[in-house]
Amino acid sequence: MALVLQPRREPSKAMVWAAPVIAVLATLIVGALLFTALGYDGFGAVNAIFIQPLLNSNRWQDLLVKAAPLTLIATGLAVGFRANVWNIGAEGQYVFGALAATGIALLTLDMQGLWILPAMVVAGVLGGMVYASVPAFLRVRLGVNEILSSLMLNYVAVQLLFYLMRGPWRDPMGFGFPQTAMFSLDQTLPRVIPGTLIHLGVPVALAAALTMWFLMARTLAGFQVRVVGAAPQAARFAGFRETRVVWMSFLIGGGLAGMAGTFEVSGPFGQMVPTFPVGYGFTAIIVAFLGRLHPLGIVAAALVLALTYVGGESAQTTVGLPAAAVGVFQAMLLFFLLGSDILVRYRLVRKGAPPARALPVTASPATRAVPGAAE
């Protein structure tokens, strides 16, 4: 009575949302058993990572603050991913945007005014866009594979950051340590709920996700993105220009990444430091996929990822789980989530059961690249 995978007649709408839940549950069970077998308190670890932070109101703000940049970046990336435009340079765009904002901050350190923070945000968004336009230009003009070019630019941006921190932008009063001066009050992101850590970036991230949901579902531009991704030939036939979609994808992705960078540097960091990049640009790629490229899914996925970080720290102190084990938990979660996507287009049946009558779902480029992405 072996089970085999059988193509579905059409992608399962239920599975689109059920698969991630199945994956999380599988991670919890396998993770608990695996780490128990390895001699750790596996069930304690699962409890500390995935359950305790949800029960402790002190942790909620941590989750929101951690999820905000991930949501913002992933929302932007998802636009491109739907159109088969693979911007994996968000980390660099995040850093470059934050550097642009830092540049404004250092210029205005001795000034006052409510215009300073908005100017930093504008600079940050533009910075992210400028940096994203390099791979966009290379792809549109020269046909350069954007996965590779945007990947390479990540490392260049980080080195630029190191250079600026070590040299020109170093705080002259900072005892030689490579970091900028602290930002002034007018350069600091305000908190939206007094007495908590929840800064302006949190509602903005949520608003960005909702806006993108509306734009993708209701506007012509959103329609173009979806068509170019799902059926490039039909799109060309309809007169949609692929070039425009590539540019749009990169500018939105880069702009939101730059905005996320600005919020981080002007909010939680309050100054620029060499350790500013912590891989949000890469994590956001994973978040985008876990959220099935849907803005609301992305919000949920960002919160799940935030949970593993925040809970992982608790697990170190409460059950003595090494930091490395938390990484393994995260990777397992990703593996299960990525693997569970197959359930959207296939179903498990007993061997020998009659096949579905219609032809299997012929994978269009978009659903092939991104299972379950089609609306």
Binding site: L142, G143, I147, M152, I285, A324, G327, R368
Partner: protein
């Protein structure tokens, strides 16, 4: 400059370049088959820790290298199963593999921190291998000769052998390859397996040859440089050899210059070089449409599923 000094510097170039070359050769074959595995860094770490553990436990470093190849190949199968059988996204799965490798290697290696082990022996007789001049030919780690042989082997495989032709066909046009009856998924599995084994061996070079020890994140991001080198070389083994050695030479000469009291590059520029050079090469090879032989494999990172 004395000949002895020149030899010493060249030895350093070889030592810097070799692990990058090995890992990049593996990734080159993977990409030629149309698969982009961004998990090189994670697989290298798994290889590095396995090599060290096995070498310490058995006292036989060569067994460590073998175990590294096996362990990393095994981890590449997680990637293979998810992306090839379950058609998960390759970019996301590769990133997850790197997170996995970083975590698993740290867990496995925790009790091996702070000790050292024997290194790989020499291939040639000691009087040749330790001669101040002749060692440039005979004094390298066995893995150096391995990397050169593999470069030749991969070149021969891809351009001269029938199996290599099939592999390239799978990478250039999966649906055509499928329609003439080649097993696209099977070929890609083998390529990913090879890429994993090579990444593992590259990792073992760090934990057994360069600095015989284990510590978390021992490879310090060199898996990403390997990926850059594949692109820099425009997916050609000969150019890869050149690229890896060019990169090793720049790093070595910069360090030598600093050690001699002068410096020609900001360290950040130096670190950015492989990536900037890669983007430049990408732009150049993509603009010359005529030489399609230099372009990226057409099916790179695109999943394939035979429709019935």
């Amino acid at each position: 400059m004395t000949p002895e000094l020149a030899v010493s510097i060249l030895m350093a170039v070889v030592a810097t370049s070799t692990p990058l070359l090995i890992a990049a050769l593996g990734e080159l074959v993977v990409e030629k088959a149309g698969v982009l595995n961004l998990g090189v860094e994670g697989m290298m770490l798994i290889g590095a820790v396995t090599a060290f553990i096995v070498a310490s436990a058995t006292g036989v470093p060569s067994l460590g290298v073998l175990a590294a190849a096996l362990a990393a190949a095994l981890s590449s199968m997680v990637f293979g199963y998810l992306t090839l059988t379950l058609t998960a996204n390759q970019v996301a799965t590769g990133l997850a593999l790197t997170i996995f490798g970083t975590g698993v290697s740290a867990l496995l290696g925790a009790s091996f921190v702070g000790i050292t082990t024997g290194t790989l022996g020499l291939v040639f007789p000691a009087n040749l291998a330790t001669d101040p001049i002749l060692r440039i030919l005979f004094g390298h780690s066995p893995l150096v000769y391995f990397s050169l042989l593999m470069t030749l082997g991969v070149w021969w495989f891809l351009s001269k052998s029938r199996a290599g032709l099939i592999l390239r066909a799978v990478g250039e046009s999966d649906s055509s390859a499928h329609s003439i009856g080649y097993r696209v998924i099977g070929v890609r599995y083998l390529a990913v397996l090879f890429g994993g084994a090579m990444a593992g061996i590259a990792g073992s070079y760090y934990s057994l040859v360069l600095t015989p020890m284990w510590a978390e994140r021992l490879t310090a991001g060199r898996g990403w440089i390997a990926i850059a080198l594949v692109v820099f070389a425009a997916w050609r083994p000969g150019r890869l050899l050149l690229g890896a050695y060019l990169f090793g030479a720049v790093i070595t000469f910069e360090l030598q210059a600093k050690a001699a009291g002068w410096s020609f590059l900001a360290p950040e520029v130096l670190t950015s070089l492989p990536y900037l050079a890669t983007i430049l090469v990408l732009a150049l090879i993509s603009s010359r449409r005529a030489s399609a032989r230099l372009a990226a494999p057409a099916c790179l990172a695109k999943p394939f599923r035979a429709s019935a």
